[in-house]
């Protein structure tokens, strides 16, 4: 199979993730969408790595996972504390800061 197809998939996933960030209200889901985008990136890295025949992309993918994991730690902590304070995980509820 032509590896380029993986790239298309990756782009698709990335777009789905992006649109998810834009339209979903629940902070957790939004965050998951971001993770989806990161994973789309990973797919692209791996694909390109395969195409170019070097390892850089794959290594990059590992780093991405690690970063994503760190992000989850931080992100969930923040989201949870907000949830506890507001009893709501909707990103739209957190709109005191504006104008």
């Amino acid at each position: 199979m032509n590896p380029v197809n993986y790239l298309y998939l990756s782009a698709l996933l990335f777009t789905i993730g992006g649109v998810g960030v834009l339209i979903r209200r629940n902070a957790i889901v939004v965050f998951m969408c971001v993770e989806l985008m990161l994973n789309a990136c990973n797919l692209a890295f791996v694909t390109f790595s395969r195409m170019h025949g070097n390892l850089d992309g794959q290594i990059f993918a590992f780093f991405t996972m690690m970063v994503a994991a760190a992000e989850v730690v931080i992100g969930l902590a923040i989201i949870v504390s907000v949830f506890r304070a507001r009893r709501s995980a909707s990103v739209d509820d957190a709109s005191l800061l504006k104008l």
Binding site: V21, L22, R25, V91, S95, L99
Partner: protein, 643 residues
Amino acid sequence: MENLIGLLVLVPLLGAAVLLCGGRRLDRIGPWLGTLLAAASFVIGVVLFAGLLGRSADDRTLRVTVFQWVPVGGFRADIGFQLDQLSMTFVLLITGVGSLIHLYSIGYMAHDARPRRFFGYLNLFLAAMLLLVTANNYLLLYAGWEGVGLASYLLIGFWQHKPSAATAAKKAFLVNRVGDMGLSIAIMLLFTTFGTFAFQPVLAGADRTGEGRLTAIALLLLLAACGKSAQVPLQSWLGDAMEGPTPVSALIHAATMVTAGVYLITRSGPLFEGAPDAQLAVVTVGAVTLLFGAIVGCAKDDIKKALAGSTMSQIGYMVLAAGLGPIGYVFGIMHLVTHGFFKAGLFLGAGSVMHGMNDEVDMRRYGGLRKYMPVTFITFGLGYLAIIGFPGLSGFFSKDKIIEAAFAKGGTEGWILGGAALLGAAITAYYMTRVMLLTFFGEERWRKPPSPQEPSAEPAAHTGELPHPHESPKVMTIPMVVLALGSVLAGGLFSVNDAFVKWLEPVTGHSEGHSPVSAAAVTGATLAVLVLGVALAWAQYGRAPVPVVPPRGSVLTRLARRDLGQDDFNHVVLVRGGGQLTRGLVEIDHKLVDGLVHGTAVSVGGLSGLLRRLQNGYARSYAVSMFGGAAVLIAATLLMRAV
């Protein structure tokens, strides 16, 4: 000797400085100090005169440059003086009459709260006027020119607490400023034409200059002269200027300052001679004004305003003469000097009458005063005879010559000008006789109580008491007597052996005109119209009783009372129109100029308020913005490559 010229100016200037800055300490001796300094400058003038007489007729010009005033590039204005016969004549007139009027003022202003300041202003006037006539260049002349304007302003408005006085003073200054504008542009034009504005080189270079340029310069100078000498169309201030104390009217607004225009034209003779069109304008202005002033003089009931109209008219004669060129200069100046005597005398007489009449100025409230003020009556009468041109008195000699010269202009112009001058003489006789009759003859109308509905120009004057007419003190009558003597004798003395003509000729040049009418015929006609005018006035005011409240009068009378509509015109066009203009500009400044900037600020603020709403607090909309931004960024990058 030359250095004395500077001293001539400096002495009264010093007086002004001392009197104005000296403070209350000088209140007592101020008037005497001022008079003394005026007299001192007269003495200096006489010494200089003697010195000039000691020289040959061609060598009677003294020149001295004190220091460079404004040297910038090719522009060089000096503080420098030039004393020739023309200037000398003026110097003697100014200091002579000036000293007399100082003396008179000691009496006249005795009861004023601040005579010191009054004398300071008078001295300032003398200094400025002397500067005007002795300057050796136009710029310095201009300095004197404005200086006398200032002095005039200060003195007209001397009783500042009266709004009418303050307004009149302001008006005088402003109208003069219009004329001054003409003078300053003329100086600029002289500078661009000749690269200098000193009298000597300018006048010498006039004959090499194109007529168009000379016409422009001359017309501008005429504008200046009109302002200072109260000639049509800038005459309106003179009547109001009578708000000032009467000595001021006598000195500044009759004898000296107002004649500065004549001096300017005469001084600039060569410039005018090269510009016939300008000369035509000058004689036209002169002829119109002499009639205008005379007509106005007929209608005024205020003695000073009647005399002011007369002054205007007489200066009209002088301007007419000056516009005629070399055939008229000498006579213009001669009339100027004789007028200086008799008109100053008349004003002092009027002042004396007012002094004895509780400052009443309405002639209709005088009458029969000859019994109470004999000296005033006699001196005033002599002045009266002089001005109407009674044979043998000074006015007769000078005015007659001008009428003659007007006819000598030749052609239709000559007839028109001569006719106008003759007509003027008739009217002069009429209104002066009217003044004389109303004041000194007839029933004693001042005994009638003032009627309440009378519109009084001067509410302060009416104290409710009837006046007790009395003769003025010596200090006032002596100057009047001296001036009356001058009025009687000056013309004759000047005409003996053509002395005055010979004296001035080296400066102004002189040529005999070829009159289409013989001199004798002119004299005859003059005398005839004189009799006519006197008779008319006698018929109207001598025989019939004079009503205290002025009758409505004819259209012409009413118009003349209102200065022939000039003030109405000024009011509508300048005051009201100007007011609307400035108010409109304020609006424009506020709404348009400022509004434009303000509008920019407001629209930035509005834009800010709109853009601010983008920041709606929803993280998802921020993400949209980022996502969109990224899309635009990508699209733009791709587009750049595509282009």
